[in-house]
């Protein structure tokens, strides 16, 4: 306890960074495992914290228990909305892709989905919105209470995987590694790869957020954090196999068991690790959520602060990223 004041007032002597023991957080896993964050942070101590799900991470950020965290787009939007734009900023992208709809055999076309039960991780999250938006485009109705042409059942990924394996649901729109697991273990069929629904096949799965106060008070520490993050993303790009191994090692350390190689490989294939937060997809997804009534209108203007990132990218001679909407 009390780390809040210490880190805020003590000149950023510690950085408390949150992430999930999950393959979509690979840059964090590798950065921690390989000491890349610590390297760039120098004498600022890295204090990594892991979370099981977005809400807990946001609660921790709100309460001042962490300073920055890797997180999915959805909790970030919620956190932005409830704090009325005062709590956090997205400062870099991390992961793209790696989600889709897996169905059981016998369902071959979207039309076959009528009357079926499809799981999503959580009402109003990215995958849930993607599914509903896609269903709407395909002329299906689906309400928030699981009714309509297609019954959308929000439940946590582990339950969805079990339910699918036991034939209790007909499909699930899930992120990695569950996406690969459903295909490899439960012999599900990938009906929709979410990539195909987005321009350039790019949509945000994970990004890096930081507490606004922290950003204001310790811009240097944030810069160093970004350096570490960039190094990690670079590392994945340059050492494919090594990076996988490092990620899996860190997973094993955090969860007691590594992913099976085949799932690790498949998941890595589906994911892209990038510094670009793919802002356009965030705006679009939020708009979709508002369209299907899962999000109160929210002004996302200013949710990004990509200046420090771009500064670094520029220094490294890489293309800068933008927080503009696609259109």
């Amino acid at each position: 306890g009390g780390g809040d004041e210490a880190s805020a007032g003590g000149g950023g002597t510690t950085l408390r960074l949150g992430y999930f023991p999950n393959i979509t957080h690979a840059p964090a896993l590798i950065g921690v495992n390989k000491g890349l964050f610590q390297q760039s942070l120098g004498d600022t101590k890295l204090d990594p914290k892991t979370f099981n799900a977005g809400p807990a991470a946001i609660e921790a950020l709100f309460s001042g228990a962490i300073d920055a965290t890797y997180i999915g787009p959805n909790p970030a939007i919620n956190g932005w909305a409830t704090s009325k734009g005062t709590a956090l900023k997205i400062i870099a992208g991390s992961t793209s892709g790696g989600a889709g709809l897996v169905v059981r055999n016998g369902i071959n076309t979207p039309a076959d989905l009528k009357g079926k039960k499809i799981a999503t991780p959580q009402l109003g999250n990215t995958q849930d919105v993607a599914l509903r938006n896609w269903l709407k485009k395909n002329g299906f109705t689906a309400d928030q209470q699981g009714g309509g042409d297609v019954s959308v059942l929000p439940q946590d990924n582990a339950t969805a995987v079990q339910a699918f394996a036991q034939g209790a649901i007909d499909g699930a729109w899930v992120p990695e590694p569950h996406l690969s697991r459903l295909q490899l273990e439960s012999k599900g069929k990938l009906l929709i790869d979410e990539k195909t629904l987005w321009p350039n096949g790019q949509f945000v799965t994970t990004h890096l957020i930081v507490k606004q106060e922290f950003l204001k008070e310790h811009p240097d520490t944030v810069k160093k954090l970004l350096q570490g993050h960039l190094a990690s993303v670079d590392y994945i790009e340059k050492n494919g196999e090594d990076a996988k191994k490092a990620a899996n090692d860190q997973l094993a350390a955090l969860s007691g068991k590594p992913l099976k190689d085949e799932i690790l490989n498949a998941a890595f294939k589906n994911l892209t690790f990038t510094n670009d937060p793919i802002a356009a997809s965030l705006y679009a997804s939020a708009q979709h959520a508002q369209d299907v009534g899962l999000l109160k209108p929210v002004d996302l203007k200013g949710i990004y602060d990509l200046a420090p990132l771009n500064e670094q990218l520029k220094a490294a001679g890489k293309p800068e990223v933008s927080d503009a909407a696609a259109s």
Binding site: F62, T82, T86, N125, G147, Q155, A168
Partner: protein, 287 residues
């Protein structure tokens, strides 16, 4: 407790004058209600005042720790939607059904376990083992047995609460005074009659306390179990609660904490009424 004894004696004294009996009683009822209410009001008042003070001190921003005004505003909005009551109805229905089932099964298992020594040796300790199992660990089995259905929820609730009920009963049975058991034997009680006329009534206090704990377990299991199934039509309390957290809306989270507390308190009052009636019968109160 001495205080009670004194008060009741005073009540009786005032009841001595037969002519004044009914007004005295009315006054008594009013006084008793007031005596039961003011501490509650005071407690709520203190909590809200402290809460408001913390909020005013700006220890944490409003979106992390919203003030009472915000929360009660949100709560008021919440409870004025028909949807919310639909959800509460659905959840209460599940809770009551699940609890009833748990009581039934727990009673039978508890009675059987305390009756047959080998059964007790075999599964007696397992009961506590089951109790400690987090609800989510039953999800795979629930889905395996019942697919995604109301029955799966019931399964999770029953397996969560029945051990508690059974344990309460077993403990009650174990502490039935030996004299009563001997009286029962002399009266020729055997088998079911022995349970019906001696063991169950004698262990009722502990049983009721087990029921209370069982209710808490079943409610907690239900909150987890409701996430298994979303039934078209109404969003149950468990689902709404999860959503409030997912949306990181502190005010809504606190609202649901209050809702759950209020339901818990109301149920506890039911149990207390049963308990008081029992204690009166047993001659454990001053009245």
């Amino acid at each position: 407790m001495p205080t009670d004894v004194k008060d009741d004696a005073a009540d009786r004294l005032s009841g001595l004058d037969a002519l004044e009996l009914s007004p005295a009683r009315e006054r008594d009822l009013g006084r008793r209600l007031w005596r039961a209410t003011w501490p509650k009001l005071l407690a709520v008042g203190i909590v809200i005042a402290a809460w408001q003070l913390v909020v005013l001190s700006e220890w944490k921003p409003e979106y992390v720790l919203p003030g009472p005004a915000t929360v009660f505003g949100d709560l008021a909005t919440l409870v004025t939607t028909g949807d919310f009551w639909e959800g509460v109805r659905l959840t209460m229905l599940r809770a009551v059904t699940g609890f009833a089932l748990a009581v039934l099964i727990g009673t039978v298992v508890g009675a059987a376990v305390s009756r047959f020594a080998p059964l007790r040796a075999a599964i007696g300790s397992l009961i506590t083992g089951l109790q400690t199992m987090p609800s989510i660990m039953w999800f795979p089995l629930a889905i395996l047995l019942f697919q995604i259905s109301e029955s799966a929820i019931m399964f999770v609730v029953v397996i969560g609460a029945a051990p508690s009920v059974a344990n309460g009963l077993i403990s009650g049975i174990d502490y039935v005074p030996r004299t009563w058991l001997r009286v029962g034997q002399v009266l020729g009680m055997t088998g079911f009659a022995r349970y019906r006329h001696l063991i169950l009534p004698a262990s009722l206090p502990s049983f009721i306390s087990g029921l209370k704990q069982g209710w808490a377990f079943s409610w907690r299991s239900l909150m987890a179990g409701e996430l298994l199934v979303i039934v078209p039509g109404a969003l149950s309390v468990g689902v709404r609660m999860q959503q409030a957290r997912d949306l990181s809306e502190s005010s809504l989270v606190i609202s649901f904490i209050i809702v759950v507390l209020v339901i818990g308190i109301l149920i506890d009052m039911l149990f207390n009424a049963a308990d008081n009636a029992l204690r009166k019968r047993w001659g454990l109160t001053g009245t």
